[in-house]
Structures are given as structure tokens and as C-alpha cells.
Symmetry: C2
Subunit: 766 residues, 2 copies
């Protein structure tokens, strides 16, 4: 067969409004937070006020006596299962249903209440008396690895939660051969995903069958099923997880969380449905955020700008639990090298347990802090060496077939064409800058789903079941998650394209573990490639059966190829000779003794390295204005050139690019989570600043697609990559205009002013 | 392979409590009538007070103006689709969404209202002003076929809705050779199924996707999907039907009814969920009942009691629409011959349209009125000829392999052993009768699902999808219906037995058209055999894949057979050599590249005659006491001997036998629906008498199982057969004691007294 390439499709690549858009804009769409069940109770968690303390005693009698309270549970009422996402190494399943012996961060749940109203549940929580013995606590990752540091988990050898060493080439030799070496320290801040729908779960236990159903605002029904299975010591198959519409996750809804576990425990205890909804304070104080890092980078270059060696050390403030933090640590070590050819590389990452809420896998995880550091450092090096910022990126850019030994391979790669497009477009777009303006660049790359099986699933990474009914309607069943990113639409488009039918012929059944084959959920930009491949596989099986029937009906020369497109199956070279899809389906089902035509497709990456089967890449330019008197930075304009493979839905990609840049700019300008001894100081939308629509600059988005052989129709990661370059491109714009160097992304006026003054002093000193 | 036969199973045949029993007894089980949805409206129907009238005009303005009313629709607001179960002949799709030009029975819906409360909807219905022009009406089936009778459906050639002629042998010759010929007239009364959950539906239309979801108290989600598709002119796949728990159907919930259609139309119009619940008056006045028949039977026998010829003529009061009435007409002509060898037979049945609510397929449909007539007539003949009632039944009993030419074949048949068992058991049980006591017998047979495809489905009659997951949990998906008869439990048992696992390993997904492969629903005792075969097929596919993996793992001699039983796969002849099912599943899924092991099974009867693939059979004895002064009859004791093949769940069969006899005794003693010009006179449980628990006699139930080769594990029809013999056995008991002959089943004291006096007069006259 000829090698596939980019081509015109009937559906793929056409701007397609979200299939669930009308339901969402009319308010008809149901989120977990909207749901109630008959006889439902409201749950609430009692949480630790201490970052680290022994639990001496818990007195729940007053809470239990409160009228309307139906159940109060503490650690001793739980089955004692420990859970976490890193199931491959069971010692990393470090979360408890409820804290038993001690609490490990402010907000660690110690008891849970179910009552007939939420108000009574809150009152009851206040009546629970917990006697604590405060313990010395540790908050700083550097302190955490000292020998005498307080231990966060006594059953763990030390506070070192995870380490990661990556190395290729000969790093010392590389630096020895470098003309120029620069080493810098960075400290990146934690930020919160700030999903508009808070964590919430509704659990309903059926005493008769011993089976549990949980509706939850989750990114992965499968992960939640596993988490609950471990926590509750129940059989996976006795737990059904349903993901209704989700008011976004941004990485913060992969882990099983206490809302789900305790709603389940309370439902088991009471025999009634129980719902737990976090308030915004709980959301900020106790749910996962983007991890803070202390990073040191050493870069060695030839004087023309060619990178010869790189060394990265990072220590991560992991917080109380693992979550996906160990993955984040690994990915940080790989994504920081992308998208550049680095012949000699060494990485040492350490993730520490501390007594704070834990950090994990927020949007662009593994790439956002590291890329800030690496791209600003590269910019400094370019300036020091007198090399043009685009030129230095072009010279070091990865190319199709590039391999980081033993780690990753770029099969498709449009980075060079992206940079070339950027060169011409920047000149057209911004021919002249004002005195207070600068342009900054950052290149980027991101994965299309992960390979390493930390969740320890025995299942294919994605699967899909396709069934064609007598009226041509296609049922598509898969566990894949739409969490607002538009995967429902993408799934329907891929299925429709492969079968040659219309979007309106597809009936979606996603995100319910009881009716679908496994998919690992929405994280790391995995659904398009992995679920897309599984859907395409299933649909192709069905299509091939239909084509077989069409061959029988048409009786044409065996040498002719048949295609299914636009609701017809016909001879590729004689399109007028064909048969209607709808007629064909009737024949096929009758010939199949009345059984609908079905396929079960699946996808697991094999022999694709350690990270991902494919990478989206590209380059971003930011034009910014800096007020040198006040330090105020305005991001004026953004230009992104992105190779995201064959775009499935241009409307979806555009929306996701805007969303990623919005979050990237928040990280660059205002979002942070200051903590005081483990206490998050700004746990509300009054104090935690996210950008409003009117704060956003114009974004020009140019696609430079390549055909990705591992993706469905050549598709791969799109848009998640564009969060990481936003902060460094902005910092680089300010740097180009003012010379100011930044050790952290948040360009608040005081930070900027200080950096401008430091730069001026340095220049004068020089 | 050796011919299969009755054997010991791990699960099949063991008394098994219903899997949904706890949910039902604790009240947790959700029925449609329990359901609400956010933003839901309440619908109500405006109904005709006339049995037959032209609609001149409908003024809905006052109703629309009532605060809280959200929509009012009349016939002109409907898409004009006509619907019905006999889709194979489209002229029999005779139901309208709402009556347009004229109304055809008292209660025919002419308008529908949706409002924010049910009270407002009722008020609004009262405000709808309909101007009618009453038309001459016809209520009696004999009148209906007169040339000058008012036409119920003008677009139909006459009021003859359906006719059926059946004939085999040479009937005239048969009667000529008979020693004794007797001809009698009968008139059977209509009765209502009186399900405790009334008809009700909840419809929710999604404007964004144009798709409709309907929850309904139905016996067949698939039939309802088809009915709605025809009525609303929507694509089948755009309609999802979900059957929650159902508070019984008894045959009255096969047809698509105005509650479903109009809830859907109102939801489409308002964009909000709409629920319509019938009140008990509507339930009695406007929903389907067991058809009244005027029947004449002529029976010719040799003097030893051997039947040589039979001729049956019946005219059925069909009412306004077809429903399943045309099927009932056909089945009446066949079941009336069972379970006897009748060498020469002729049947002519006519179903008439009249201006009453229509009659259709109530429990034991096609057999109940006819069997009353035939079994009482046979008893009279036996007495006239001086032949023992059991002897005459034994002599004429069908046997394994008996074929009624072109109509039906009994493959398995335990009737003779049943009668022999009855002979001995009756002597033991009732050695001596009091003066006012008598024993009556009636033999019986009934189908295991129907063959004739009146619904015109292109799908297999039943299908099932089985999926084995990594923890050994088995998902069983099928559209089959549990409507209270216990099929959820039977489905789980069949699946568990075939796979060799436990009931607790089965997770059921039944009765939702969106997640299952087609099954035609619960009627005519079809689920055990048809759905059971489909489940067994699917499970066997999975089992065979597991056995293949077990062969690879065990590496034993190819000649050994492997079996899967009690959660192990092992060598049949060396049970100690085997592997745990749970371990095997893990291996099998891993070897299958992480995809669960699945099978899609199906069943459609092929080459099994016109009626059914298999028949349950047996004989019933009733001991009754008759007060000759008052005519009061007491049914004292019942003995049933039943060949129902391999019993799947003895508890379920026992329950169904009791239920069938309860309904049969109601038919025999007190249930009736007197009508006055189409007006049902007793539309409430105050006036419509059904037997209470304390009115029920003891029932002794003896199984005489045979192995039915067409059924799963040898299973076939069970218990539905036992409704039909109840009334004739009771009448025969009174006849044996008093000589009273009955032309109708309802043995009310005045009827009995009259019959006793007539018998006495006849005897005297003789």
C-alpha cells in the first residue's frame, strides 16, 4: 500500500461545531454537580487544620447526635485500602480513604459526614472534635531531603518520593567542547488548574448486589474505577463509574480524590446515594496543582549557537502524596530537551514529600516549568553569543526521524517549516517596534499521550466498539473522556470519516465504565491519537465487512478498490458505480443473520520509546510592551505556528490553542499559590487571579501540518503544546526590550522592575 | 457429539433468589413511575367521551392561557405517523398519535397538554373544548360484519380487521367417521391485565442532537422504539428506549401507547422532559385487555374417546385497533388444538373492528378463551361417552415428534408422563370427595416465543453481547426484558452456567436500546428460550476462547476435553488438572493485546414451523366445592403437573405458576369488564375484582421435565401455560359435581345456580 499522506477528507479537517455544543449553551447538559438522586444525602469532610500532626482521638458523638445526620465515619470505619495513580509500584499508592494515624497537610480529611442537607453536614463537621498532637512539618523540598527532616510517610525510606536520572551522549565531554557555558537557577511557582466545576462525586451503593455506581467530575472514569477499587478493596467490576459532562479538569482530575472515596463509603454505610461537592476554598487548599520546582540548568554551546551539552537538576516540592507527580518528574527531564537536538544530556530530578497539598499533572505537565527555564536560558545564550533568536532555534531544531537515544523519536516533525513560516510572518506582522516593545520567541513540543504504564493496566490503552444498526445509525462505545476539550466531536468525526458516513449517523456512548471498553482517559493529549486509533480500527473492521458485502452486490472486477465515503460505497476509480451506505447496511445485517455489523478496535503503542508515539511541535512569538517606570508588562499580540499533524477539527484546535495560551499567560503574569507553612493564602477567585477574556491579546494561529504515521489520519497532539512557550516567550519579549532576566515566570510589576534594575546594574557593572 | 440430555448443573436448576429481589423489597428499585428529571413537565391526555364521533373543531385557547401550561397539541401538531405492532402489513398500523378526523372509542385521545404540575395539566385538559358530531357506533362483533355497519376505519375495506383459516386432514370425512359429534357455543368475557404499575412514560428530547430518550413501563423496548419511530417519523437510531424495572405487563404493555407517543411529542415541542402517567380509570378504560370471543366448537370422537375431527369458528371483538389481536386470532386457532392429536381440523377466525377499547395479547394469549371452550367441551364428551376424563386426555395426548401438519411440532413432550403422574397423585391426594366436591381436569400446552415476524424486524429475534473483564467480571448486554417475571435472574444464571462462573460474576445490562443488541421483548414466554439461546451462544464464544488459552497453558493431550465449571477450567476426565478462571481471564486478555474477551450471540428460529420452536405442556387438576343452594363455588386445591423442560430457576417457575393460576382463577371466578356502548363500567379496583392472596387455594406443583433440544440447557416455556387450564379445570370440577355446563368462564354464583338448574332440568327432561 502507498504510504499515507495528508489529503482531503469528507469530515476530518472541516470546522465542525461541537456535537454537545447546543446542550451546553442551553444549559441542558448535565454535569455531576447538577445531579441529584432520590433519597440523596449530602456529604462533607472534616479536615486537618495542621500541616502535620498525630491524631490522638476523634469524637464524633456530637455530630452523630445532630438531627439529620445519617452517618459519620473516620479512618477506622474505612477498609484501609491505599490508593494512587502509580499502581505499578504499590508503595506509591500513598493516599488513605481518611487519615488514620496522622495528617500530612492542611486539609487532609479525617472524618466524613452524610446528612439530609449540606447545611447540616457542615454543622456536623464542626461538631467533630479531633485531638491532634502537632508534629514538626517540612514545606521546602530542599529541607525535606535533609537527614533530620520530619518524615511525611514513615513507611517510606525517606522524603524522596521519586527520583529520575536520564542521560545520553557524553555530557562532560560535551561541556569540555563547548565554546560557551551558562548555568542558571530557577524557581517556578505552583499554580492551580482552577477548573470551574469543583471536584464533586455522587455515589450510590446497592446493598442487594453489593455494587457501587459513582458519577464524578473526572478526567478518567477508568482511573477512578481503579482508585476506588484499591481504596475500598472492592472488585473493579463491582464499581461503575460514569463521567457526565465535565466542567474541565486541566490535569487536576486524574487522581482519585476524597470526594469520590468518601461519598462511596458513606453510601455503603447508609445505603443511600451520597453526594460530596467541594467548596472553592477546599478546591484551592486540597486539590492538585502544578508543582513548584527548584531547577538548575547548565547549557553548553558552540559559538555559532549550536547546543553541545545540557545538564538539568531539579528538585520538586511534591507535597503529601504522589499523584501523577512521579510522571511529571520524568517528563520534565525529557520535555526540557525538546524540540532541540542535544547530543549530550544529563538530568537528575528529585520529587520530595512535604507537608503541603500535592502537585501533579496540570495541563502541559512535564513541560511548563522546564520550558520556561530552558527557553529563557537559550535566549540569554543567544544574546550573549550574538546569534538571532530564531536562528539559534532553527539551527538546533529537531527534524523528522530525530531520536533522543532510548527516550523518544520524532517521526513526523514540522518544526523547521514552522520556524521558517515564523521568520516571514513576524516580519510582515510586526515590521516596526515601539521603544517599549519587544518580541520574544519560544519553540515547543508536546506528547500525544504517554507510553509508560504507571497505572499498571492490563488493558489496551484505548479501545472502541462500533456497531452499525439497520437504519445506518452507528453506535460508538468507548471509555474516552470529553472533559470540555471537544473529544466527543473528534470521536464522532473520526468514526464518521472512517466509515464514510455523516456526523449525524454517529451515536456516542462515552465515559461510562459499564458500557464501554477501556480507555485511560483525557490527559497528556492522548485521546485524539490513542482513542482515535482505536475508533478508526473498530470502524475499519465494520467498513471492511460492508465493503465485502458491496463487492458481492456490485460484482465488479476484483482489481477495483472500493471506498466508503459520503454515505456511499463505490469503486474508487469509477465513483458512479456504487451502492448507498444505507442500502448496504440493510443487506449486510440481513446477510449476517440479523446481527448488527460490529468491530472492537484497540490501540496500545508498541516500540515507540519511553514517552509518546508522536509529538506536536512549533514556535510561538509574543509581542509585549514593558513600562520601565512601573514594571507593568502588557502582552500585546501572540503568533503561534504549530505542526499538530492532520487537524481533526479546526474549530476545536483553535479553541484549545486559545485556552492553552490563556492558561500560559496566567502562569506568566499573575497566577500563583503563595503558601505559609502549608497554608494556601489565596484560596478564592477574589485572591487567585486568572485572566478575564478582556485581558487576552489577539492570537494568530497558523497550522503547518505534517502527516503523523502513528496517528489516525495523520493526527497528533494539538494545542496542549502551546501552553509551555507562552511564559518564556513573554519573558523573552521583555528581556529583548529591557535586558531583564527572570528566574520565575510570574512577571508582576515589582518583579519586572527589580529585574530591569538588576539588568541595568549588571550592564553598568560590565 | 452425544445428544444432550437433562443433567446436573452448577447453577441451572438450583433455586436462586432474584438478583434484583433486595432492590425491590427495600424500595430501591426504580420504576418509570418513580422517575423525575430536572425541569420535567407533566402531560395529560384529553380523551373522547364518545365511542364514535367526527371531530368538528378543537379549541385549545383556554387551556393554553392557563398559567403553568407549556404546550397543548392536537392531531394537526403531530407528524401524522401511524403505528402498530403488525408492521409487516402496514395497513394494520392503525393507531394515530392523536385522533384527527374522528374518534373510535371512549377514551380515544384528541389532545395532549404539558404543564408544570399534573394538577394544572388536568385542569387544562378540562378547558379544551372539542366539538364532536356523534356517529352511529358498533360494539358487537357480529353486528360489525353486517354490510350496513358503521365503519370504524374508513380506509379499511370493512370492519374485518383480520381473518385466519387453518386446516389440515379431511374434516368432513373425519366427522362422517365419528361415532359422536358435539357442537357448542361459547362467549368469553374480556378481562383486564390490571398491572399494578399503570402505563406511564417519561420522554426527554434533546434539541441539539434531535434525539429522543424515552423511559417507559414496557414489555419490549425494541417494540416501543419501532412504534415511536413510525409514529413520530423519526429514525430508529434517534430514539433510545430505556426500560427500568416494570411493575408487570401481563401482555398489556407490548403496544406503543399514547402515553409514550404524546410524552415524546410534548417534549419535542417544549424541549423539556415530559412525563405522562395514566390514572387507574384511564388504565381500565383505554388500555389493552384480553379479547372477548364468540366461539363455536364442533368435536367428533370415536366412542372410545378418540378425537377424529374438530371444527372451530370464532368471532373476536377486536375493538378500535389491531395491537397484537391479529396474532391472538391466529394462535387461538392453533392452541385450541393442543395438546391433542387431532387428525382433521378446520379453523375460521374473524377479528372485527368495533368502537370499544381494543383487545390483544394478555398472558397466555391465544390459549385462554379457546382452552376454556375446548376443555369443557371435551369433558362433556367424555361424560356423554362414559370415558374417564384422564383417560380421554391420555388417549388423545400429543407425544414427542407429533406434528400438526404445516403448523407445529412438539420436539420434546412430557405430556403422557405428566398425565400418568397426575393419575397416581390424584388418588393419593384426594382419596375421597365430599358430596359437594368435584375434581376437574384440563390439559395444556403453550409456546416458547413466537416465530411469525409480524413486527417485521430485520434483526435476529434475540441477541446478547458478553464481555469478560480482567477481574473475571462478566458484562452481559441484551435488550431482553425483565418485567417482573424474573428474567434478570434467568439471564444471569444461563450466562454464569455456560461460562462456568458464579452469579456474582455477572453484571447485567438489560432493556436499554442504546447499549444492547436487539431482543424482541417479554411476551409469549419467549425470553428463556430465545434470549437464553442468544446468551448461551455469546457466552460459549467467550468460553471457547478461554478454553483455547487454557489448552495453551496446560499443554495437555489434545484428546482431553476441557470444561469450564465452578470458576475453573479443567480436564473433564481429570478434574484436578486445571486452572482458575480468574487467572485464565488475566492471561487471555493479556494475550488478546489487552482487549476483553467478548462474544456476540444471537438466535432466530429456523425451520420450526409457524408457531414456536418448543412447547411446555402438562395437566392441571382442580378440586372445588359447590354450594348448590347459592351457586357459590370455592376452589379448594390445585395440582399441576408440568413439563416445562429443564427448569432454569425453580423459585422463578414456582412464582410464575402461582401468578398464572392466580390470573386464571380471576378469569374463572370474578374478573370481567362489562361495557355499555363501549363504556367500561367497572374501571377501578373497587369494582374490578381480582383475587387477594387469602382467596388463593393451595397449589401443588410437580415438574416432569424433558430435555428440549431447541432450548438453552433443554429449557422451554414454563408456567405461562398454566393460566389457560385453570378456568376449564374449575368449571369441569363443578360440572363433575353438579352436571352444570358453562358457556363462559366467570362462575359467579348466579351463573352457577342457573347452570345447575338448567342441568337438572335437562336431566329431568331426558
Amino acid at each position: 500500500m502507498a504510504k499515507e499522506k495528508l489529503k482531503e477528507y469528507a469530515i476530518i479537517g472541516k470546522p465542525t461545531p461541537n456535537v454537545d455544543g447546543p446542550a451546553k449553551v442551553t444549559g441542558e447538559a448535565q454535569y455531576t454537580i447538577d445531579m441529584t438522586l432520590p433519597n440523596m444525602l449530602y456529604g462533607k469532610l472534616a479536615r486537618s487544620p495542621y500541616p502535620h500532626a498525630k491524631i490522638i482521638s476523634i469524637d464524633t458523638s456530637a455530630a452523630e447526635a445532630l438531627p439529620g445526620v445519617k452517618a459519620v465515619i473516620t479512618g477506622k470505619d474505612t477498609p484501609g485500602g491505599k490508593y494512587g495513580l502509580w499502581r505499578r509500584f504499590r508503595e506509591l499508592s500513598d493516599q488513605e480513604c481518611l487519615a488514620t494515624d496522622k495528617v500530612r497537610f492542611i486539609g487532609d480529611p479525617v472524618a466524613a459526614v452524610a446528612a439530609v442537607t449540606e447545611e447540616i453536614a457542615i454543622q456536623a463537621v464542626e461538631l467533630i472534635e479531633v485531638e491532634y498532637e502537632p508534629l514538626p512539618a517540612v514545606f521546602d523540598p530542599d529541607d525535606a531531603i535533609e537527614d533530620d527532616a520530619p518524615m511525611v510517610h514513615e513507611d517510606f525510606p525517606s522524603n524522596i518520593n521519586a527520583t529520575r536520572h536520564i542521560e545520553w551522549g557524553d555530557v562532560d565531554k560535551g561541556f569540555a567542547e563547548a565554546d560557551y557555558v551558562r548555568e542558571d537557577d530557577y524557581v517556578t511557582q505552583p499554580i492551580h488548574p482552577a477548573a470551574l466545576e469543583v471536584h464533586n462525586s455522587l455515589a450510590s451503593y446497592d446493598k442487594g448486589t453489593g455494587r457501587l455506581t459513582v458519577w464524578s467530575s473526572t478526567q478518567s472514569p477508568y482511573f477512578l474505577q481503579l482508585g476506588l477499587s484499591d481504596a475500598l478493596k472492592m472488585r473493579e467490576g463491582d464499581i461503575r463509574v460514569i463521567k457526565p459532562h465535565v466542567g474541565s479538569g486541566f490535569g487536576g482530575k486524574n487522581s482519585t480524590m476524597p470526594d469520590s472515596v468518601n461519598a462511596a463509603l458513606l453510601s455503603i454505610k447508609t445505603g443511600r446515594p451520597v453526594k460530596i461537592v467541594y467548596n472553592r476554598d477546599e478546591e484551592f487548599q486540597t486539590t492538585e496543582h502544578r508543582t513548584a520546582q527548584h531547577m538548575r540548568i547548565k547549557l553548553g554551546l558552540k559559538k555559532d549557537g549550536q547546543i553541545v551539552a545540557m545538564e538539568v537538576k531539579t528538585i520538586v516540592n511534591g507535597g503529601a502524596f504522589t499523584g501523577l507527580g512521579a510522571t511529571d518528574l520524568y517528563l520534565t527531564g525529557t520535555f526540557i530537551t525538546m524540540p532541540y537536538k542535544i547530543p549530550n544530556y544529563r538530568y537528575d530530578g528529585v520529587r520530595t514529600y512535604t507537608n503541603t497539598v500535592w502537585g501533579t499533572s496540570i495541563r502541559g505537565f512535564g513541560s511548563v516549568p522546564g520550558k520556561f527555564c530552558a527557553e529563557t536560558q537559550l535566549e540569554r545564550a543567544a544574546k550573549d553569543l550574538g546569534v538571532d533568536p530564531l536562528q539559534i532555534r532553527k539551527m538546533n531544531a529537531v527534524y523528522p526521524g530525530y531520536e533522543a537515544p532510548g527516550q523518544y523519536t520524532f517521526e513526523s516533525c514540522g518544526l523547521l517549516p514552522c520556524i521558517e513560516k515564523m521568520e516571514t510572518r513576524v516580519k510582515e506582522k510586526w515590521p516596526k517596534l515601539e521603544e517599549d516593545e519587544g518580541i520574544g520567541f519560544a519553540a515547543f513540543a508536546y506528547m500525544s499521550g504517554g507510553i509508560f504504564n504507571w497505572i499498571d493496566t492490563p488493558y489496551a490503552f484505548s479501545s472502541a466498539h462500533v456497531k452499525v444498526n439497520i437504519d445506518g445509525m452507528v453506535d460508538l462505545y468507548t471509555q474516552a473522556s470529553d472533559i470540555g476539550q471537544g473529544h466527543n466531536t473528534v470521536a464522532a468525526m473520526i468514526c464518521a470519516e472512517e466509515l464514510g458516513v455523516g456526523i449525524e449517523d454517529i451515536r456516542l456512548h462515552l465515559g461510562d465504565t459499564a458500557h464501554t471498553y477501556t480507555d485511560l482517559g483525557a490527559w497528556g493529549s492522548r485521546e485524539v491519537l490513542m482513542n482515535g486509533n482505536a475508533i478508526k480500527d473498530a470502524a475499519a473492521q465494520v467498513k471492511n465487512k460492508l465493503i465485502e458485502v458491496a463487492r458481492l452486490k456490485l460484482g465488479e472486477n476484483i482489481a477495483y478498490d472500493l471506498v466508503s465515503k459520503n454515505k456511499r460505497v463505490y469503486l474508487e476509480l469509477r465513483p458512479e458505480r456504487g451502492i448507498s451506505y444505507y442500502d448496504l447496511v440493510q443487506d449486510a445485517i440481513r446477510a449476517n443473520d440479523g446481527v448488527p455489523i460490529t468491530g472492537v478496535g484497540h490501540y496500545t503503542p508498541h516500540n515507540k520509546g519511553m514517552i509518546s508515539p508522536a509529538y506536536g511541535t512549533g514556535i510561538m512569538a509574543v509581542k509585549a510592551k514593558t513600562d520601565k517606570e512601573t514594571g507593568a508588562v502588557v502582552c500585546q499580540d501572540i503568533l503561534v505556528v504549530h505542526d499538530c499533524g492532520q487537524v481533526i477539527n479546526p474549530l476545536g484546535v483553535r479553541g484549545q490553542v486559545e485556552g492553552s495560551i490563556h492558561m500560559g499567560l496566567g502562569y506568566a503574569l499573575c497566577e500563583e499559590m503563595p503558601m505559609d507553612e502549608g497554608n494556601v493564602l489565596n484560596p478564592s477567585f477574589v485572591d487567585y487571579k486568572i485572566l478575564r477574556t478582556r485581558d487576552m491579546p489577539e492570537i494568530e494561529f497558523i497550522e503547518v501540518p505534517t502527516y503523523e504515521p502513528n496517528g489516525p489520519f495523520g493526527a497528533k497532539e494539538a494545542a496542549e503544546a502551546t501552553i509551555a512557550p507562552t511564559a518564556p516567550a513573554l519573558a523573552n519579549a521583555v528581556f529583548q526590550n529591557t535586558g531583564a532576566e527572570f528566574v520565575a515566570p510570574v512577571l508582576k510589576p515589582e518583579t519586572v522592575l527589580k529585574a530591569i534594575r538588576a539588568a541595568a546594574a549588571k550592564k553598568q557593572g560590565k
